[in-house]
């Protein structure tokens, strides 16, 4: 399968709906310091069920919702959707195209959807278990994290891959 689309709306600095279409091959994302590049990778981790504040660089759940800027009001929600082309049936689900959505409201309510149908966080984790989060999204400054771990901690990398 392939990741074909990513949409961010109200997530961190992406106040307006922003869409990335991924063509086969290498996609590079460039831009000045503080422009929002790492927020994109936070968005991908978040939609796939990441709950750790430190990996999302946040302190509380509403830190992922657009907090406003000069003259722009804060957002009421954050929403991220990823779309996979599953025509080879790799992901354990019968759709040829799979969308995963996560939505968080200022009230603290969190919603997960697969192909538009509300599901639980557990269902997202089941779907993405084969993805192995630790080596699918490598955060800024974390490339050599595996080298700093102790030998028994590194086992996880291989168990994921098993």
């Amino acid at each position: 399968p392939r990741l074909t689309k990513l949409e961010l709306h109200g997530f961190k600095s992406f106040a307006n709906r922003t869409t990335f279409l991924f063509e086969p091959g290498i996609t590079a994302i460039i831009g000045p310091n503080g422009s929002g590049k790492s927020n994109i990778s936070d968005g991908v981790r978040w939609v796939l069920g990441e709950q750790s504040h430190s990996l999302l660089r946040s302190k509380k759940t509403e830190d992922v919702i657009f907090a406003g800027g000069n003259g722009k009001a804060p957002g009421g929600f954050a929403e991220v959707t990823v779309t996979f082309d599953n025509s080879t049936g790799w992901l354990p689900i019968e759709f040829s195209e799979v969308t995963v959505t996560r939505r968080s409201l200022r009230s603290g309510e969190n919603q997960f959807l697969i192909n538009g149908r509300k599901v639980r966080l557990k269902d997202i984790h089941h779907l993405t278990a084969s993805l192995g989060q630790s080596y699918t999204v490598v955060g800024q400054g974390l490339v050599d994290a595996a080298l700093s771990q102790r030998a028994e901690e590194r086992r996880g990398l291989f168990e994921h891959a098993a």
């Binding site: 091959g25 590079a28 192995g132 400054g141 086992r155």
Partner: protein
Amino acid sequence: MQRRFEETFTRVAREFSTAFTTLFGGGTAKLILIDNENGGPAGVDIVAQPPGKRLQSLALLSGGERALTAAALLFAILKVNPSPFVLLDEVDAALDEANVVRFRERLQQLANDTQAIIITHNRGTIEVADSLYGVSMREDGVSTVLSMRMAGSLAG
């Protein structure tokens, strides 16, 4: 579980040694299963020997050598267990020009089976991208994105 773990470990260890030698343009590296003193499941040790150097502990590797060794491990795991995508955030920041060239060649190989998305400031890496997105921050703190199709002119 244990049998599958060992099978995966052996395959990843083989890929890791190959990826390390390719990325460093020489030298050798190994993954070693080591028994846990407390009797729990075995741990994984990494031994790296950049070209021209002795076998040494990971602590003595330089910043760039650590990043390149970690990249070799990442490429090895992704080869054994392909993923629909990989998103790398400035993993090439510590690399010098010669290592960026070897890194981007290996990235191009990875992109044959996996959707590779890379956040980078590195001109050498941008040059091999098939498509490019530019992110900027407006005065009001809102990020905007511009798709800059690689019409070949960008690498200039």
